[in-house]
């Protein structure tokens, strides 16, 4: 009797564990202790199987209309998941008006893409490059059925889809494709740069003296003032699990800024493109500065070639006048040494481990080598 009771209790415990696992509550994010977990939609809980499937989909060029491009084409790991171009080029050769954004720590981004104050889920964002026509990125629109047929017949996917979407009669759906890609993207988390080691791990020698001086300038309200937009542990606005939602307008006002970097004409009018408000012309999202040294050229349109020129832009108080230019952007008094110190600090935000971590690399070459 006692043994039976033990078995029942054991079964119950196992069931709770399985349910908990299926719901993604015990997913191991491998975060630095003390850092918050990302937000995960209730209908797309995290699991190792789903993340692994997402990695294969992310790098699958069959997702594009001509088989030439995947998500990984514009989001290359070694470039912090950007593409090094001033403006990205779609699979059919069409040029995007903006540059690709880094996916590192994208799970913490309150809004996605450069200038959309409504796009908050990675599942929804994945559809933009897949289905978009202005411009064409992957060009999948109208070809979804063929792609899903390819997926359903691929031996790798025939193993991964059922594991990721256990119990579904037909797991090979577009919704599941976006869920898996989003789950994979949520795991691309970087918290191991030299600056992190200095600030959070107590490795006082992880930064040069120049970078330490640069940190002080960056966070000074009187000198660099960089932290006014790029503050906090992610060097930009974040949302995370347990965040109390602010009013949408309040949130947007702290995330999208006009910096006077360029003339804001079609097709780069910023947040205005979605709100239609004159006051939103030229407002673009504040990106995280993590790994910024490997993400050149800079700004939404890649119009500033290097960090030296970016700092000159801000020293000038934004090179171009615009009625919507943020009041935060005012001329700075910085010496040449200050600039070099700031650049040394920005260089310390590069997490080399994240740029080479095999968990986020392209799995297809190994698969093809085995076939």
């Amino acid at each position: 009797m006692r043994t039976n009771l033990h078995l029942v209790l054991f079964d119950c415990a196992l069931s709770i564990l399985l349910v908990s696992s299926l719901m993604g509550a015990d997913f191991d994010w491998r975060l630095t202790p003390g850092f918050p977990k990302p937000v995960v939609p209730a209908d797309n809980p995290m699991s190792d199987a789903k993340v692994e499937l997402g990695r294969y989909l992310f790098y699958d060029t069959r997702m594009s209309v001509n088989g030439k491009a995947s998500c990984g084409t514009c989001h290359r790991q070694e470039l912090a998941f950007t593409d090094g171009r001033a403006r990205s080029i779609g699979t059919t050769g069409e040029q995007h008006p903006r540059r690709s954004m880094s996916l590192i720590n994208v799970a913490y981004a309150p809004y996605l893409t450069w200038a959309n104050g409504t796009l908050t889920s990675l599942e929804g964002q994945a559809l933009v490059p897949m289905m978009g026509t202005k411009p064409v990125e992957l060009g999948l629109l109208g070809h979804e059925k063929e792609f899903l047929e390819v997926v359903a017949e691929d031996p790798t996917y025939r193993r991964l889809f059922p594991e990721a979407f256990h119990g579904q009669r037909n797991p090979y759906t577009l919704a599941n494709v976006t869920r898996a890609i989003a789950a994979f993207e949520r795991t691309i988390i970087s918290m191991r740069s030299p600056y992190d080691r200095y600030r959070w791990y107590g490795e006082m020698n992880a930064l040069s003296d120049s970078a330490k001086r640069g940190e002080i300038i960056f966070f000074s309200g009187e000198r660099g003032r960089c932290f006014r937009c790029h503050g906090g542990w992610n060097f930009g606005p974040v949302r995370f699990a347990g965040t109390v939602p602010s009013g949408r307008d309040e949130l947007i006002s702290g995330i999208f800024f006009n910096t006077g970097a360029t003339v804001y004409v079609e097709p780069n009018r910023g947040l205005f493109e979605h709100t239609g408000r004159e006051a939103d012309i030229g407002k673009f999202r504040v990106p995280s500065l993590r790994n910024i040294a490997v993400i050149s050229p800079y700004m939404h349109d890649g119009s500033i070639p290097n960090l030296d020129a970016v700092i000159d832009h801000y020293i000038a108080g934004g090179k171009l006048a615009h009625p919507n230019k943020s009041e935060i952007i005012r001329p700075l008094t910085l010496t040449e040494q200050d600039k070099q110190d700031l650049i040394a600090f920005l260089n310390s935000l590069t997490d080399r481990e994240a740029l080479t971590d095999p968990r986020w690399s392209n799995p297809w070459p190994a698969v093809r080598a085995q076939r």
Partner: protein
């Protein structure tokens, strides 16, 4: 041999001067005070200590230091029942190393008035502050934005506005 000896003596002297000139980080308490203070980590360690927990972008930090009211009391600034009349037109100007300045009125610092305490902090999570935080900072837990939680704090000046 004699030259070597002279060089050694000169080197030792320069080294001693360098140690003597090493600046100990401090916060000056000045202005309309009866007793100006120079606060260092060593002197603050002897004051009554308090802790405050803050959460910034999901990261919790435990700061430890001394309430400003305690520091002002030791500087002879009116507190509690004495904080009346002319003293109510006084404020504390907190200044950072980079020139950044913010103001707290004496009344808003005093527990018998608003009671929104401000902590002068020298450790975070049990470790001395460093880098962009400076060796000392303020933490104003009642404030919604962090703009008055001055980092790199170097000076607290009490100013009387009453003409």
């Amino acid at each position: 041999m004699r030259r070597c000896l002279m060089l050694a003596v000169l080197g030792a002297t320069l080294s001693a001067i360098s140690v003597a000139q090493e600046v100990v980080p401090s916060v000056e308490v000045t202005g309309a005070v009866k007793q100006p203070l120079t606060l260092t980590a060593e002197s603050l360690a002897k004051f009554p200590r308090a802790t405050v927990k803050t959460t910034n972008q999901g990261i919790e930090t435990t700061y430890e230091g001394v309430w400003l009211t305690e520091i002002l009391r030791r500087a002879g600034v009116p507190q509690g029942e004495q904080l009346r009349g002319r003293a109510l037109a006084s404020y504390v100007l907190a200044q950072a190393q980079d020139g950044y300045q913010v103001v707290f009125s004496l009344a808003e610092l005093d527990p018998s008035f608003a009671g929104g305490g401000v902590l002068l902090v020298d450790t975070a999570n049990g470790k001395p502050l460093f880098g962009e935080q400076g060796r000392f900072r303020l933490v104003a837990p009642q404030d919604k934005p962090g703009a008055r939680s001055v980092r790199m704090l170097t000076k607290l000046e009490v100013v009387s506005l009453r003409k």
